[in-house]
């Protein structure tokens, strides 16, 4: 008999969620993580620390500039960056401790070291004292790491990834962000609020590639007004570091001189040292592990989920895949609806999106109707002073089924949850329009956008 029913390699959202679900289904589970803390990229150097800094930097900016017209007068507002970073680290430590507790609660064996497959049913933990485990099944959840551009070397200091940009020990005078995706915009926003001049360089002629282009255009206007500088259609050809800082070289233009560079051009899968060759699993051209609809690799009892298999690199996508993979393995049923996985950009205003974009519907020739409603016409948004943005709903022209919802506005990341449930349940715009929404709430903008699909908004 094998030591374990399931060995999970990787302690991120995919790995720990898969481990917990397998334990709930009565399986004997081990989880191997190379880092000291469980939680993976998301908890250690991703979602959680970035949200802590986004919220803290928002409070700093609001108290510095935003309170006066609300009748709150404060003295000089000072930034204590070390304290802000300490708060962030404490949040991470608390949540990591919580994960340790969850592993204990579910009697999951936690092993520290680099997990390496060593042939069918065998996993080696390369730590201080290497040990070999036997197992019936293996779940690979090794995640991803920041990628870079040709001639741009991540030096872990002046030229860094999101990991470094979550822990700068001083506010950069001038931060250049390469890449206008959500990571670049979120961290660019953090340091702009704390006092940096921030220049975002993007190869495409738009920001937030893949998101609804109308909403991305709204976002660009708002971020510019907030003081982020954008140079779109700009190709970075290299970065040089000098004694004083960095020089970002650009195709056909003068280099941009700055003191820090954040490279946020995407992420690549972690498959080094994983021993894939010992079970005859090959990665694809981009380095991802190919899997079938049940997340099984080319090897029979080896599965893979999360960033390492590609697709949307989102924590909740990884979690859904891990649960579906484990449930299918042990119960015969597991499913992920990729059409109903939300994406959120945690800037202010936030951007929340689910389903098809208008661009995708046009391209696929799907007939649709569109409803929009601005937060400027929402009473709660007026009272809160967060009137920027709108809700946009796309529904099928004939069936009225909701195909996509895109929100830019305060708390869009929370508001999008209603749209996710609606899409998952096959709801129409009329269904949402006929649901009571509490007044006054921002969620009423969703109801009004749904009414607007049929041209009958009540409050505009």
């Amino acid at each position: 008999m094998a030591d374990f029913d399931l060995v999970v390699i990787g302690g991120g959202p995919a790995g720990y969620t898969g481990a917990i679900r397998a334990a709930q289904l009565g399986k004997k589970v081990a989880i191997i993580e190379v880092e000291k803390k469980l939680g993976g990229t998301c908890l250690r150097v991703g979602c959680i620390p970035s949200k802590a800094l986004l919220e803290s930097s928002h409070l700093y900016e609001a108290s510095s500039h935003g309170f006066k017209d609300r009748g709150i007068v404060v003295g000089d507002v000072k930034l204590d960056l070390p304290a802000m970073l300490t708060h962030k680290s404490k949040v991470v430590d608390t949540l990591a401790g919580g994960l340790d507790g969850l592993m204990k609660k579910h009697k999951i064996t936690r092993l520290a070291g680099q997990g390496r497959i060593d042939g069918p049913g065998k996993v080696v933990v390369d730590g201080a004292e290497p040990k070999t485990l036997t197992t019936d099944a293996i779940l690979i959840a090794t995640g991803s790491q920041p990628s870079t551009l040709p001639n741009v070397v991540l030096d872990g200091n002046l030229v860094g990834s999101s990991t470094e940009a979550l822990a700068f020990d001083a506010v950069p005078k001038h931060l250049v962000v390469i890449g206008a995706g959500y990571i670049g915009l979120e961290l660019g926003t953090v340091w702009r609020r704390l006092g940096s001049k921030v220049t975002v360089l993007e190869f495409l002629d738009r920001i937030l590639p893949g998101m609804d282009s109308e909403i991305a255009a709204d976002a660009l206007k708002i971020f510019k007004k907030q003081g982020l500088e954008f140079r779109l259609g700009t190709k970075v050809t290299g970065v040089k570091t000098t004694t004083n800082g960095c020089e970002v070289q650009i195709d056909g233009a003068e280099p941009v001189v700055c003191d820090r560079v954040l490279v946020a051009v995407g992420r690549k899968p972690n498959t080094d040292k994983l021993g894939l060759e010992t079970v005859k699993v090959e990665t694809d051209k981009r380095g991802f592990i190919p899997v079938n609809e049940h997340y099984q690799t080319a090897a029979k009892n080896v599965f893979a989920v999360g960033d390492v298999i590609g697709g949307a690199m989102l924590a909740h996508k990884a979690e859904e895949e891990a649960v579906a993979c484990v449930e299918h393995l042990y119960t015969g049923y597991g499913h992920v609806n990729y059409g109903a996985i939300p994406g959120v950009v945690y800037t202010e205003p936030e951007i929340g999106t689910v389903g098809k974009t208008e661009d995708q519907l046009k391209e696929a020739g799907i007939p649709y109707r569109k409803g929009t409603f601005p937060f400027a016409a929402n009473g709660r948004a007026r009272a809160s002073g967060t009137t920027e943005g709108r809700v946009k709903m796309l529904a099928h022209k004939d069936t009225d089924r909701i195909l996509g919802v895109h929100i830019i506005g305060a708390h869009a990341g929370e508001l999008i949850a209603e749209a996710v449930a609606a899409i998952e349940f096959g709801a129409t715009s009329e269904d949402i329009a006929r649901c009571s929404h509490a007044h006054p709430t921002l969620a009423e903008a969703m109801k009004e956008a749904a009414l607007s699909v049929d041209g009958r908004t009540l409050n505009m």
Binding site: T331, G332, Y333, H335, N337, E424, F425, G426, T428, D431
Partner: protein, 47 residues
């Protein structure tokens, strides 16, 4: 049948029932979890 709700899809798959053969009693003919459970409790209908 109409749109199959997420939990109904799970019960149907685990019992090898084709959810599109189940009559939905939810809004707009949606197939609910209880509709699949109801279909399972009846003796198999001849095709």
């Amino acid at each position: 049948g109409g749109h199959v709700m997420p939990a109904a899809a799970r019960v149907a798959a685990q019992n090898q029932v084709n959810p599109s053969q189940v009559s939905g009693t939810g809004p707009g003919g949606r197939v609910l979890k209880e509709d699949v459970q109801q279909a399972l409790s009846k003796p198999a209908a001849s095709a």
